[in-house]
């Protein structure tokens, strides 16, 4: 039997963060997620990382002549936006591949984030 969906009052409160990734070479979604988690655990430890509850909602490639660019949306728990943004700012490389992540904004819903930054 399927579990009943939690009522909204009992669900965890979340925030969505829009970001752009500029990289030298291509990065897969799995690689990016793995390195984000690694960085978060490295910076804040396992206990705080469990509270952040990171989830990569969307990750798409954008056409850019200068360098490989991706746009994405990241979900985290409300109150841990600062930790998530710091983690994104501290990403420097995946193996030999240099990259930089620039966060655009934070919002309570994907809809409003998409309206502002056109990420989906």
């Amino acid at each position: 039997m399927k579990l009943k969906i939690l009522p909204p009052t009992l669900r965890e409160k979340k925030r969505y963060i829009a970001f752009y990734v500029y990289s030298e070479h291509e990065i897969t979604k799995n690689d990016f997620t793995y390195h984000m988690w690694n960085k978060l655990i490295g910076l804040y430890g396992e206990v705080t990382s469990s509270d952040v509850n990171l989830w990569l909602v969307s990750y798409k490639r954008v056409s850019n002549q200068d360098r490989i660019t991706y746009k994405g949306i990241l979900k985290c728990q409300r109150g841990y936006e600062k930790e998530t943004l710091t983690m994104l700012a501290s990403l420097t490389n995946i193996k030999e591949n240099k990259l930089v992540v620039q966060s655009c904004g934070t919002s309570g819903t994907i809809k409003s984030l998409n309206r502002k930054y056109d990420l989906l």
């Binding site: 500029y22 030298e24 490295g42 943004l85 700012a89 501290s90 490389n93 930089v100 620039q102 966060s103």
Partner: protein
């Protein structure tokens, strides 16, 4: 409105363009003292003409011999806007703090078991008006134990800063596009140290403005204690 500065970047067109995109007001390019010649000045002039940023140019001295350090500082004092000395060991840190011509002491905490500054050096920094630079690049490119130690050393230094009141700035030390961080990100990364958001903001704005004021004073000064306050109109002299 707050103006942000990145006061340690490499002379690179891409970096400057990126800083402009991030709406920085100014930056300082540092050339290595060992490879400094007239072509460096030309590179600076070319980059300065093609940007809307307030650009300054400085020299970075990495010397392990105190005598050579003094010589380098004397040689470049009137040639560049800023002189930055890389912190190395206790001897070098002490000599650098004792030289009034030095403007910035770069990461005095590197390769040490302590923050590289004690109560004596802290009062010397205040007396000689020397600023300490925190290298965000180093924070990003170290891991685990080394990063933990680095954060600990900076926190130790911040305690001395609170007591003695010397000036501290933070910079990205960007060498390429991938090293440049936006002001918002620099503030967030600075908060990994024990500083509140307001002071983290000051590290890349107000505190850097103090260094820029010192450059103006340095340019206007004739000898120690004598400074041109304003240009006298020639006609009034006649």
């Amino acid at each position: 409105m707050t103006f942000f500065y990145d006061f340690n970047i490499a002379p690179n067109e891409e970096v400057i363009q990126c800083l402009e995109d991030h709406k920085f007001k100014g930056a300082c390019m540092f050339f290595d003292a060992d490879n400094y010649d007239n072509s460096c000045k030309d590179i600076f002039n070319y980059l300065n003409e093609n940007t809307s940023l307030e650009l300054y140019h400085g020299i970075l001295i990495s010397e392990s011999n105190p005598e050579l350090l003094r010589k380098h500082v004397q040689r470049y004092y009137n040639k560049v806007d800023l002189i930055m000395v890389n912190g190395l060991n206790d001897k070098i840190n002490r000599v650098a703090c004792n030289l009034a011509h030095v403007d910035i002491l770069n990461r005095p905490y590197s390769n040490k078991r302590h923050c590289g500054i004690n109560h004596v050096l802290a009062s010397m920094l205040v007396e000689n008006n020397i600023t300490v630079n925190i290298d965000i690049y180093e924070l990003l490119h170290t891991r685990q134990m080394r990063r933990a130690k680095l954060i600990n050393h900076v926190n130790e230094m911040m305690k001395l800063k609170d007591k003695y009141g010397f000036n501290v700035i933070a910079s990205s030390s960007a060498k390429s596009f991938y090293d440049v961080r936006s002001p918002k990100n620099l503030i967030l990364l600075s908060q990994l140290f024990k500083v509140d958001e307001e002071y983290a903001r000051k590290l890349i704005s107000d505190n850097v403005s103090k260094v820029i004021n010192d450059i103006t004073i340095h340019k206007e000064s004739v000898i120690d204690g004598v400074r041109i306050v304003h240009d006298v109109d020639k006609r009034t002299c006649e």
